[in-house]
Subunit: 359 residues, 2 copies
């Protein structure tokens, strides 16, 4: 496989992200040098194929610091001092605090450019690592004025070599953005799911696709999230306060629904939700609205595959597919997302082949 | 197709639900009589195949009232009076208010048993109807003491004939349950999505699967939801107040994160979310936890089908599948949910066939 990076890359921290970066670069033929405060973790990542152990005399061109957010600045400063010819990036999920800490430490930030891959997993550690973890994911570059374009382009090369999509930003903009698009949804999902923790069994039996979607990411690791939230607390608190305001308005309106303006306030809240969800980028960044077609799929191996083969044979390109199983039913419903103009043809083609098109 | 209902069924209200019930029953050979305040809507449903127009002298065994919640009790009372030998049910998404209104009206509730199918669509009206809308979905029966078992069993027959899963409950229990499991998730999703309505474009570009899941149902119809929420406001307000309390605790903790106990409070909120989501019933009502495997799928027709065929050939049964596309990428990631014991075999089988197993 070809790659853009020419010199060796040193990776400091061989957890999930560091190991995954090492695996991805090594697979593309880049020389990777691994370092970790834990010799055991470092050897594990090397055995796994993420690179070789770092050695005295190593002269990396690029250093990737992949350690927990609360020690990121300290490790970046050490690396900048130890390798005066190298460019250093980090992959912490917050960007303003580490840069400010580096300035306080008097580090040479003309060689530092922070970044943040929008990729992760529920599991952590080297053994959860994968060279393809970043493939197709946005990877933010938190730019600042004190690094030259030429040096910064090494971070672009890293991102492109790993198959990710570089997104230019700044530390403050990044932190505000992830507060809205990542940290707030996590907390909203957790708060909703927490209401289910002591809900009656009767209520849980009625769960459908809606509540499942809203609470899926509530299964995330609290230990990881307390670090992320801790390093971006002011921006997250701003978002939560705005949410509190909206929630208070909604509760007041529902609580005195016959008062003048109350029904309009509830409708406005629901409409604002319509507007917000419509802004999420669709496939390939477009805002095209797709149409969903639901098809009954019996609960036998290969049935969903057979359906998708039939859809392919009909010449229809799937935008998305998901399966839903109801409690107690011995079959599920496949929700197929396609371009609106394909719906009628798809419907007819599937029914002709004996599929039950539910809706 | 066989069916349990023997006598004719009269359907009052030929919107999405009424038409879908008519289509489902007619397809199974049940005689369906359609009535609607709008002659146009009624004829449209009949033309669509949902049954024949109601006629003077009809003697239905079961009447299904499928009109908006705010007129449900009035129409049920009229039907009970007009057809003194028939059992009447309704499909409104709230159950306590209509029963109380029927008592106030002095209706003969020894022939009334309310119910609520947990099925719906974003679109409304007869043309969105489908005879399979209820297949595999929970359908709540809001039981009360004043109807005999024998009469009530007609409603069971209706539900089973439509392929749905009957869930026994009471009006109050139902309303409390849907406040938690349906109405609260809807509002939480709308509130979260509303925060995106005026978020900067930069933030939207970083959207991943998490925020998409949390906000999907925020696309629902405000006009429908204002009716649903209006008829269950006290139970919904109770849930929203509990959420407000949890949110206030979380904001306080994040706002003074270095104070004693603050980090624990944030972790507790995240852990309560873990506990809640773990209570949602899995496939077929079990609580088994599944494992997700992610596979890279190029953006060409038939690729996902080919993957699923390969999974079937490997003898692995899919629990769930979904596709995710990153902005700007010319391929997606298929997330395959399988039993944990199948993961290693699936991973090896797919890699042997040249698939990139991402994680």
């Amino acid at each position: 496989m070809t790659h853009r990076l020419r010199g060796p890359v040193r990776i400091v921290g061989t957890g999930l992200l560091g190991t995954s970066i090492g695996l991805g670069l090594a697979a593309r033929g880049v020389e990777v040098q691994l370092a970790d405060a834990s010799p055991t973790a470092m050897r594990l990542a090397a055995d796994y194929g993420a690179g070789r152990l770092a050695e005295p005399g190593d002269a990396p061109e690029l250093i990737v610091v992949a350690v927990p957010p609360d020690v990121t600045a300290q490790v970046v400063a050490q690396e900048l001092a130890a390798f005066p010819d190298a460019v250093v990036t980090d992959v912490a999920s917050v960007k303003a605090v580490p840069l400010a800490q580096l300035r306080e430490l008097g580090a040479d930030i003309s060689r530092y450019l922070g970044s943040h891959p929008m990729a992760g997993r529920e599991r952590s550690g080297a053994l959860a690592g994968s060279g393809d973890l970043f493939v197709g994911r946005p990877w933010v570059i938190a730019g600042h004025d004190e690094i030259s374009y030429e040096r910064g382009s090494l971070v672009d090369d890293l991102i492109l070599d790993l198959g990710a999509v570089p997104i230019e930003s700044t530390p403050d903009e990044h932190d505000r953005s992830v507060a809205i698009i990542s940290h707030l949804p996590q907390l909203v999902s957790s708060l909703m799911a927490a209401r289910l923790a002591d809900a009656p069994d009767e209520a849980l039996r009625l769960a459908g696709g809606g509540v499942r979607d809203v609470t899926r990411i509530a299964a995330s690791d609290p230990a990881l999230w307390i670090q992320i939230l801790g390093a971006n607390a002011p921006a997250v608190v701003d978002q939560l306060r705005a949410l509190q305001g909206d929630l208070a308005t909604l509760v007041d309106a529902l609580d005195r629904l016959d008062a003048s303006g109350s029904r309009k306030a509830v409708a406005d809240a629901l409409r604002a939700g319509n507007d917000g969800v419509a802004r999420l980028p669709g496939k390939h960044g477009t805002h095209t609205r797709f149409t969903r077609v639901q098809v009954r799929v019996d609960d036998r191996p290969g049935q969903l595959a057979r359906l998708l083969v039939d859809i392919g044979d009909a010449g229809v390109n799937l935008e998305d597919v998901r399966m839903d199983h109801a409690e107690g039913a011995q079959f599920g419903v496949a929700e197929i997302t396609v371009l609106p103009e394909a719906v009628r043809h798809l419907h007819d083609a599937l029914e002709a082949l004996g599929w039950q098109v539910v809706a």
